[in-house]
Amino acid sequence: MNHAVNALVILALVVVGYFLPMAFGGGGAVYSAFVLIAIFAVMSYGLDLIVSDLGEVSLGHPVFFAAGAYATGIISVRLGLGPLPTLAASIGVAMLLAGVVGLITLKLREFVFSLVTYAVTVVGLTLAENWSFLGGSDGLTGIPLFQLDLGFAGYKAVTDKDLWPVAYVLLLAVLWLVSAFRRSTLGKAAMTVHLNPRLATMSGIDPQRTRLMVFLVSAPITASAGWLYAYQRAYISADVLSPYFLILMLTAVVIVGRGLLLAPLIGVALILVQEKFLSFGGYVDRIILGTALILTLAFLPGGIAGAFKAGFRYLRGKAASKSDTIEGGATEWR
């Protein structure tokens, strides 16, 4: 019964979500913004698994994003293959890289882990700028249109409006994957390793293996965003490794509240709406984004959702001020 209601609500949300761009006027800019929101949300979900579930901060995820974008660019330009092979290649390359990075950082924790992953991004940037195989500083141009040909039916995306169904399906698939991950044995193991490493060891969970596995799940998610981004932009350069994407991902993951399924999506939407429709120019936008990240972490550890919850609890506490049961420490939630 409850399940049925839940399923109906989710189905309704899915349908409403699909028609949202239309509700906002359906113009080209609106569809572009929605496609980008979907792509960057998918990109952020990969990082979300590492930050919210594993409790580490990977600064190497732009590399996975770039891996998807570059794999797609190279294969579609040089081999002329379509979206399905490029998606497979994106995922494969990302998993390979994730395996290497995961193995190198297997024993590293906290800031050393983050520093090494950060170095991976900077090295990736240097390679992308200089290696002619990756197009060097010119990047890869002439990425063909997104064109699916399944024999019996075909789909060709000329504008962002045409790309929206693809982006939306990708987003839904990733949302499903993330929620399935959180219900899975691996997801629970990651949470245990994160919150209670001792219990994890006693329960027979191998923390290092868990970390590696989560990495292998996380990287393809971010890479699939790179895959679609390559088609959306039609060209790829070392820009995809710029710190902008890193800051965007991190902010999206923390700003609304860690560990909530829709939080990264809402976070990305907030950021992109500001940048696309309320922009003050690139540099000011950069300051706004950085400041949002700083303020969230320094003053709202639970994100916007956490602040709302705390505010709600405060109001309720005032109404029932006689009761002296204060839940100490309950403000720190993950």
């Binding site: 901060v57 590293l108 090494v116 240097t126 540099y283 950085g290 700083i294 320094a298 550890p301």
Partner: protein
């Protein structure tokens, strides 16, 4: 390849790396903090020096301390924002906040100074010295001298003065330092001020070697990280030696293999160190 010239390049580069890293070494050694905005603070140090000379007409010798004062103010501001997280020792959040700071600093610098490259000319950078087939500028000499002076001064202060003793107490055990009546927050402020001043000094002194851009700073963070890890976290002498080694390595790698890939090469060295001696990363308290 001119070996003598590469050794000179390597030594100058090495002292640059060491000088850029020193603020971080102290920050990590004493306060257990990492600062990803370090590279952007270096960039800011170079640009403030440039602006002080080009816009305000200050002589270089005054522009450098001016830039350091700005660096200290940036350090103070960061510490103000980070204070709560610092006392909680929430390293992960601190790290991300400093990344955000770097992003903001880049935005601010691009707004104020524009996004075009600039040349930071000083009275020393334009004077060349030729000795046989060797070449360097007086600015290179200044870099080496400043780095050596800063390292000796820091080492002396840490080991011989009350200030240094207090810093070492906080480095080893901030909670126990509290019981000694020490205001740990003041020490953290001091450490951030030093970080700000030192990296601004590095920007002001090393900036003249290359054209400066508001988008620079990433390579500096990676090189700093390599120096700090190679030298042993928090170790002052270690950082110095690691800086020089990395400088020589980079110079010869650039000359023999490819100058474009020096950062990846340094990173590979780092990975090798991490894999070969992961225990070497255990922070040695005390900042010796």
């Amino acid at each position: 390849m001119n070996v003598g010239q590469q050794i000179i390049n390597g030594l100058v580069l090495g002292h640059s790396f060491a000088l850029v890293a020193i603020g971080w070494t102290v920050l990590l050694g004493v306060a257990r903090l990492v600062n990803f905005a370090h590279g952007q603070m270096y960039m800011l140090g170079a640009f403030v020096t440039w602006a002080a000379i080009a816009e305000f007409g200050l002589p270089y010798m005054l522009a450098v301390p001016f830039s350091m004062v700005v660096g200290i103010m940036v350090g103070f501001l960061m510490q103000q924002v980070l204070l709560r997280l610092t006392l909680k020792q929430d390293l992960v959040s601190i790290m991300i906040v400093t990344l955000g700071f770097g992003h903001v600093l880049h935005g601010v610098a691009a707004l104020v100074f524009g996004s075009t490259g600039q040349i930071l000319d000083t009275p020393f950078s334009t004077k060349n010295v030729y000795y046989g087939d060797l070449w360097f500028t007086w600015q290179d000499v200044a870099i080496v001298m400043v780095a050596v002076i800063v390292f000796i001064a820091l080492k002396t202060v840490l080991e011989k003065s009350r200030l240094g003793r207090i810093a070492r107490m906080v480095a080893e055990d901030p909670k126990l330092a509290l019981l000694g009546g020490i205001d740990v927050r003041k020490v953290y402020f001091g450490v951030f001020a030093f970080e700000g001043a030192a990296v601004a000094l590095a920007g002001a002194v090393i900036g003249p070697r290359t054209p400066i851009l508001t988008s620079m700073g990433f390579d500096e963070v990676i090189m700093t990280f390599v120096v700090v890890v190679l030298g042993g976290i928090g170790s002052v002498w270690g950082s110095y030696l690691a800086g020089i080694s990395l400088g020589l390595f980079t110079a010869f790698f650039g000359a023999l293999v490819s100058p474009a890939y020096t950062t990846p090469a340094a990173f590979l060295v780092l990975i090798a160190v991490l894999v070969l001696r992961p225990g070497g990363l255990a922070a040695k308290p005390g900042g010796h």
